[in-house]
């Protein structure tokens, strides 16, 4: 069954408290290779049947309206994934 993956990230200029908490924790666990972390969301939308252009368009719109808050987040990716 194909799925549409939507990735949403906090806007780069916006404070990301989640990423900040993680970036503080990583070195304490010995993971010292990372200079910054941002935490966003990944949605998988299940489609029964074929992903048409109309459906993909619906996903893009849903991404911009329901799945992300355009004031603080960017939709960075809307993409079909086949299993």
């Amino acid at each position: 069954m194909p799925r549409i993956v939507v990735d949403v990230m906090p806007k780069p200029e916006i404070l990301d408290p989640q990423g900040k908490a993680i970036v503080g924790a990583l070195p304490r666990l010995g993971f010292d290779a990372f200079s910054g972390v941002r935490q966003g969301k990944r949605f998988e939308l299940k489609v029964d049947g074929e992903v048409t252009e109309t459906i993909l368009q619906q996903a893009r719109e849903a991404a911009e309206t329901l799945l992300s808050n355009p004031v603080i987040e960017d939709v960075v990716n809307v993409q079909v994934v086949e299993d």
Binding site: P17, Q18, A21, I22, G24, A25, R28, L29, Q39
Partner: protein, 249 residues
């Protein structure tokens, strides 16, 4: 009384009846540590403040990991705290032959599951909102270090307040928990977060490690508990003191 008590600074003088020393852990973002310390004191024990970054476990007879939003709980509740230096020591002590009694409340329960001292995990409440209410629980197992002062099947009302309180585990684990009598508490009347099989709290096989989502430490003092009167939570703390002085049923 002259100074404001600080977080991590609530140890009482050694006047406690039982002489038992109960450690209360503070992580950055812990909120209910002073409440837990108060509960220990009201039960007659001595509260000892423990700091997450400490690398040695001081001489304590039991430990409470209180609620809050450690490290903000932004990633997953309890996810970052689990790696605190003190947690390694607590896990070792809980698993040792001495079987140090450990109680995890709310965020503390989440820390215990993240540390694998208890099975399963917590996800967001099924209704996705924070919920604060007076909650009725049934004590399903009164044989643990933290429940021996309750009757089996007794219904108690304590405070529930959480955002990520939905207890989940795979069916096999749930069956095991039920089969071994390790479901310590169940929600009665209404399941406030969608937890599997109405589970509000569980214990490890030895009965020394107990975790639950609701907050007994907010129900220990008449006037400040559920509906401003309830003190049903005090039994957790008198239970562990009873265990420590060898008087458990």
């Amino acid at each position: 009384m002259t100074d404001l008590p600080l977080i991590g600074d609530y140890s009482a003088p050694t006047t406690a009846l039982s002489g038992a020393r109960i450690g209360v852990v503070t992580f950055p973002g812990t909120l209910d540590d002073r409440d837990a310390a108060r509960a220990v004191r009201l039960a007659g024990g001595e509260a000892v403040s423990l700091w997450h970054a400490d690398t040695e476990l001081p001489d304590v007879d039991a430990i409470v990991i209180p609620g809050g939003f450690s490290y903000g709980d932004y990633l997953r509740a309890g996810a970052i705290s689990r790696f605190a230096p003190l947690m390694d020591k607590i896990v070792d002590a809980a698993n040792s032959d001495a079987k140090l009694p450990v109680l995890g409340i709310c965020n503390g329960f989440q820390v215990l599951t993240e540390s694998h001292l208890l099975p399963g995990s917590m996800i967001k409440n099924d209704h996705l909102k924070f919920i604060c209410r007076d909650q009725v629980l049934r004590v399903e197992n009164n044989q643990t270090a933290w429940t021996n002062q309750y009757e089996s099947g007794q219904e108690i009302t304590i405070v529930l307040k959480n955002q990520d309180g939905q207890y989940v585990a795979d069916e096999k684990t749930l069956d095991e928990l039920e089969g071994e009598g390790r479901v310590a508490f169940r929600y009665v009347g209404w399941n406030p977060n969608g937890s599997r099989r109405d589970i509000a709290g569980i214990t490890n096989a030895a009965g020394n490690v107990v975790g639950l989502m609701p907050h007994p430490e907010h129900a220990v003092e008449a006037g400040y508990g559920p509906d401003h009167t309830g003190t049903d939570g005090l039994g957790f703390f008198t239970s562990v003191l009873t265990t420590l002085v060898g008087g458990a049923k």
